[in-house]
């Protein structure tokens, strides 16, 4: 089985890897590149724990053919902080106890980032819709929705 060369940027850094035919991007990021921030949940698109941005669009790593992302720009929670400073979404999640076991958190945060990148002033319903593809079995979702709204407020304040 011959491997296929793939190049992409991951959180701003160029990466080049060889992938197996049919391998999914989540596997390649975790095992091939060492970015453990996107999580492996169901491997069928249902849980959302591997959600990431590919060329600015929210997608599921487990359902993305790795060799199809050649030349793409990939963003995961692994690259969200600036230096030592966490992203406002990460801070709001920590402060608002929006993470309990933490397994869904990277996917939740990337789904939230996809929303805030397009809509900096979302309603509560917008937030619920934005994370509707992400399952959390601990929090009951309310702290997550609150944290995303808090982060949005703070990010708007920062820009203003």
């Amino acid at each position: 089985m011959s491997k296929i060369p793939v190049q992409f940027t991951l959180n701003g850094t160029e990466k080049a890897v060889f992938v197996d035919p049919g391998a999914n991007l989540l596997d390649v990021l975790r095992r091939g590149v060492g970015d453990l921030s996107p999580k492996y949940g169901c491997a069928q698109g249902t849980c959302g724990s591997c959600a990431m941005l590919i060329d600015g669009e929210l997608r599921l790593g487990c359902l993305t053919l790795a060799e199809a992302v050649s030349g793409a720009r990939i963003e995961t929670t692994g690259g969200l902080q600036t230096g030592e400073e966490p992203h406002p979404l990460q801070t709001a999640f920590m402060e608002g106890f929006a993470a309990q076991c933490g397994y869904c958190t990277p996917g939740m945060i990337m789904a939230a980032k996809a929303l805030l990148d397009r809509n900096p002033n979302p309603s509560r319903d917008d937030v619920i819709e934005a994370i509707s593809g992400n399952i959390c079995r601990c929090t009951g979702y309310q702290p997550i929705v609150d944290a995303i709204l808090t982060a949005a407020d703070r990010m708007r304040g920062r820009i203003a």
Partner: protein, 266 residues
Amino acid sequence: MTLTVETYGTLAEANAARRGDSRYLAGGTLVMRDLNYAVPGLSRVLRVSNPPRAIRQQGERLSMDAGVTMADVIESREAAFLAPVARSVGGPAVRNMATVGGNLFAAHPYGDFTAALLALDGEVQFVDGRTQPMEAFLAERDRAPLVASITMRMPRTGEFRFRKVARVKPKGVSVMSIAAWLPGAPMRVSQVRIAFGAMGPTPLRARAAEQVLEGKVLDASGIERALSVATQGLAPVDDALASAWYRNEVAPVHLRRLLLDEEPEP
């Protein structure tokens, strides 16, 4: 088993390379699942590097390339009447990936978008240039060549309605979906087309209900007979979401709400 992935420049080239053992990969939301779970028999995957993704108005019809995603539909002005349908498919990440072409082949309980295309007199255009009405296509889709595009009627305002019945909101999988093209609504309707998703192996038309609605006004008495024959011709199955019995029991209730244009339950 060794797996190969072959990438082609055009759909026609990919189609020419197809054999019994190969599977075309579009958005991948279903094919990648099968790859991840190493479904037996899946040994050749064919893909196209940049499949076309245009939406075009052609007189009274709208044409969509098979590679159009649910997110493309939601953003398109011409396809605004289909935005509620596209929005009912999966969550935001799935909608960025899931294509219209893939939805045509999605097995039960999926195929909500296809139910809408069936109601809107959809027609499938294959890469070899042949066309086929949606209903005939669905009956034999296992043998179909690759699909290049789909066309459908553009309904006038208020003539197209869609409901998805799910237990989880937002983003539940269909207990059923109902799409209806109701020329003349809310007054006297004619040439109605009603399609149910998740009420059979593929989306199916409720022909008996369509026929008795001819010339009727969409009020409680006008739709009464249609409700009594709503499930004729449908073939629901038991699954984890609902039994066939339950689906048959509630189908007329949901059809009534759609035909009377009642607000969907929150």
